[in-house]
């Protein structure tokens, strides 16, 4: 399978699939020497969430962020001596992806280093490799963010099977919408988490959807239940609603992840994606795993949300096993993870 020498050098990882302009330098595919994340003010008058406009904001940020990531890693912009440049090519917002891909291609020519296209979702699955302890395969990984909620059985790097996913809203989207409804800020995940600290997670018994033996998720009904409950009980504390809502989301995420791991004979479970930064989810996933003698790999929060280091880690592996991409690399907004499975 080795079509390329083993990666030992420095890989630059570029990620611009959504709101974050993120660049990192990673050594050996495991050690992040720098990881710079510049977040767009999504709901400000600049930038914005529409693909084309998000792209404009990435365009302004990309080179300053590359320079910062190189500087922190002790490299210079003229000849950084990289082994390769890895870049997210999809899925994501088209205009946003294109900026990262175009920048990566230009730098690849300028520095005369190979280019590697990386699937954003595969990137998230590689965040576990940035941790000190190697993960034991097979692993069941819960990838949970504003745009995705999926359970992936990873039998080895590059070997993926999606065993469940959300049939409607992503978990992060439910956090955002419920936060806005409750009058909390954006993004909703951290805001709900903050508010929930002051509330009782058992105050309200919100539904845990799709306890049907499948590994799919549904959060649309939960969102409706929160709205219904809040309208009928105007005097109930917002903190209790936030805590109970968060408990319902975390319960179902943990329950299904552990069950999927046990049923598929996995040795470990892992978290990835922006919602994986939620403290309660992290804590409960570890507890759930240990109860079933599973290892739990919970990457640092900075490696869970969108970042360049995970893209560099996945890029290192891709390069080692499949060689570089050519300069005709494009942006693929609706690329599926399966297209990347071996």
């Amino acid at each position: 399978m080795n079509s390329y020498p083993v990666t030992q050098g420095l890989i630059l990882g570029i990620e611009t699939s959504c709101d974050e302009t993120a660049v990192a330098v990673v050594r050996d595919g495991h050690h992040a020497l720098s990881s710079v994340i510049s977040s767009q003010q999504v709901h400000s008058k600049f930038g914005g969430v529409v693909p084309e406009l998000a792209g404009r904001e990435h365009e302004k940020q990309i080179l300053p962020v590359v320079r910062e990531a190189l500087t922190i890693a002790g490299l210079n912009m003229i000849s950084p001596n990289l082994e390769a440049i890895a870049v997210t090519m999809g899925p994501g917002l088209s205009g946003a992806l294109m900026v990262g891909v175009a920048a990566a291609k230009a730098l690849s020519i300028a520095w005369n280093v190979p280019l590697v296209g990386v699937n954003h979702l595969e990137g998230h699955l590689f965040a576990v490799r940035l941790e000190d302890d190697p993960i034991e395969y097979p692993a069941v990984m819960l990838l949970v963010s504003g745009g995705h909620t999926m359970l992936v059985l990873v039998s080895a790097p590059g070997r993926y099977r999606i065993i469940g996913q959300s049939l409607d809203d992503a978990a992060g989207e439910a956090f955002d919408k419920v936060a806005r409804f409750l009058g909390l800020g954006y993004p909703g995940g951290p805001e709900i988490e903050k508010e929930a600290q002051f509330g009782d997670p058992k105050a309200i018994r919100f539904p845990r959807a799709l306890r049907d033996g499948s590994f799919n998720f549904s959060f649309s009904g939960l969102k409706t239940a929160v709205v219904t409950y809040a309208r009928k009980n105007p005097n109930v504390e917002v903190s209790d609603i936030a805590a109970s809502f968060q408990a319902a989301v975390v319960d179902i995420l943990v329950e299904k992840t552990i069950k999927a791991a046990v049923e598929n004979g996995a040795k470990s479970v892992a978290l990835a994606g922006g919602v994986a930064a939620n403290t309660i989810l992290r804590k409960r996933m570890v507890e759930g795993a240990h109860k079933h003698q599973l290892a739990a790999c919970i990457p640092a929060k900075i490696n869970c949300t969108d970042n360049g280091a995970m893209i560099a880690a996945a890029g290192a592996w891709r390069l080692e096993n499949f060689g570089p991409s050519d300069l005709s690399l494009g942006a693929y907004p609706s690329m599926a993870l399966e297209e990347f499975a071996e």
Binding site: G48, V50, G221
Partner: protein, 172 residues
């Protein structure tokens, strides 16, 4: 304008089915209503009735999802959009012109924006004494209002209205 009572999720799916028969490429359907009022349930049923066989997931995060049904379909959600400039960039008039069918959720902000004619469907909760259990089970009723804005849908307007009133009668 028609105003109906739709009793549960199953009836909402039936309504989508009936309406779908009168739609064609180039049509715009705008859905409005509060969080959890039924927009997505309706949109999903409508897309399925229009021949989409993939799972229809929420377009909120990516703003716009493209499907292939009887004609090209754009499922748009402008929940996260804050400015007219952002809306403009989506290029919805061009897509309609090219024969794409567009269904837009959270269209409140955009109602004054379209020079095109559109079918405006509004979803409201009927009352607050429905139990949480019924709500979760999809057994809670909704008011649904339908209004054709502008001069479009000519020749189809009466048929659409008759077909709907034939199935449901009109509330209030």
């Amino acid at each position: 304008m028609l105003r109906l009572v739709v009793n549960d999720v199953k009836q909402m799916q039936q309504l989508a089915q009936v309406i779908s028969k009168h739609l064609q490429g180039g049509d715009l359907v705008v859905l409005t209503g509060d969080l959890g009022a039924g927009k997505t349930v309706f949109a999903r049923s409508l897309l399925q009735a229009l021949g989409v066989d993939q799972t229809v997931t929420s377009p909120t995060f990516v703003i716009m999802k493209n499907y292939r049904g009887k004609f090209p379909i754009e499922h748009v959600d402008i929940y996260r959009i804050d400015s007219l400039e952002e809306l403009d960039v989506l290029g919805i008039p061009d897509l309609l012109e090219e024969g794409h069918f567009v269904v837009m959720e959270w269209g409140e902000k955009a109602l004054g924006m379209f020079s095109e004619s559109f079918l405006h469907i509004t979803f409201e909760r009927l009352e607050d004494d429905v139990s949480l259990e019924d709500e979760i089970a999809g057994q809670a009723p909704r008011f649904v209002s339908l209004d054709i804005v502008g001069s479009g849908f000519t020749g189809r307007r009466n048929q659409l209205e008759n077909d709907i009133t034939g199935h449901w009668g009109v509330a209030i």
